[in-house]
Symmetry: C2
Subunit: 202 residues, 2 copies
């Protein structure tokens, strides 16, 4: 059952648990000789299918979620603040990721990590195109090209297609990690992912 | 921060993750010299506050939940079937638990474990008063007394009060384990509970 194809890492840039997983997933996969394909999606679109809403806006669940985000981050040794505003629209970051990924996958992943760390590590609002462009420029990306790309219908369509493909694969939450077709939802499933990669399943 | 007061274990008898936690929580707490107070509640009442619904009835999430219930059970080495019907009303089991708990706490816990194992280990429908009474009788409980208790307004009121008290404490899901005021939601938080008991928090 084991293989060496990349594992898929679905997330929304506005997902605290997505951020927590993002800090650990490549190292975990690397232990088992696996690469990770990062796949940002729009949870807002998926929530229209599942009827869910952002955790922090839900009665009772919201208070717990805020506590658990911070407690989990401390446990994993990951810097974390709950940003204000939260949640945010993450269209720009996700479009930038896919556009850049066709040119330089490593740079695209660096951008994704940068967006997560700016938003959840430092509390910087990363919803605007300009915030994403500024960050991308600091990584050596041509800001003018990226600005144009963010308005390109093909780039917008790419993100829509990626989100729809995720839904078609049954993805409903962030993060979801898929190993050889087996889905694991939640930053708290990384231990299961680790064991699945080790054993090939149980 | 550490103490030796009992930890609280909130659950609904129709909760698969509650069942998975129930098979591990006493052993885990015992390692740290702690007892566990089991507190069945009615998730249906809480769902009216949170706007949630049973996982298996939710688009996309339902398919994943069924897979994760079974996969988690296999990982923990716990016998598990997804019963039919599922979910079920668990009023009778929860009322029986609190009534018996005032008389013989150890027997009440044995009844609770028996209900969980009958429903999720063997797929036996445990929603009816008769099913609960039959099981209780097999543990030495007087069936006639229990049958009368299940119709007693004070017993009914007790379960309502326990569920309301849980809501007042911010409990929204099953299982939730509370250690010295710190809540942990989910069978997948038992590792955190273990570490919290070990360290007194982080």
């Amino acid at each position: 059952m084991t293989g060496n194809s990349p594992i898929d890492f679905y997330f929304d840039f506005s997902s605290p648990y997505g951020y927590l997983a993002s800090e650990r997933i490549d190292g975990l996969a690397g232990k088992h000789g696996r690469a990770v394909t990062w796949r940002p999606i729009l949870l807002g679109v998926i929530f229209r299918v599942t009827g869910q809403s952002p955790l922090t806006e839900q009665p009772l669940r919201g208070d717990y979620a805020r506590r658990d985000f911070a407690r989990s981050a401390r446990l994993y040794g990951v810097r974390f603040v709950l940003p204000d505003p939260f949640p945010i629209y993450t269209l720009a970051a996700a479009r930038a990721y896919y556009w850049l990924g066709e040119r330089d996958p490593a740079q695209a992943k660096a951008l994704a990590q940068g967006v997560f760390r700016a938003y959840f590590g430092e509390g910087r609002n990363m919803s605007s195109a300009q915030a994403v462009i500024d960050l991308a420029q600091s990584l050596g990306v041509d800001g003018g090209e990226l600005a144009a790309a963010l308005q390109d219908p093909a780039v917008k369509e790419r993100l829509k297609a990626e989100t729809q493909a995720a839904i078609d694969h049954g993805i409903f939450g962030s993060p979801t990690i898929v190993v050889d077709g087996e889905p694991f939802w939640g930053a708290d499933r990384l231990d299961h992912v680790d064991r699945w990669l080790e054993t090939g399943g149980w």
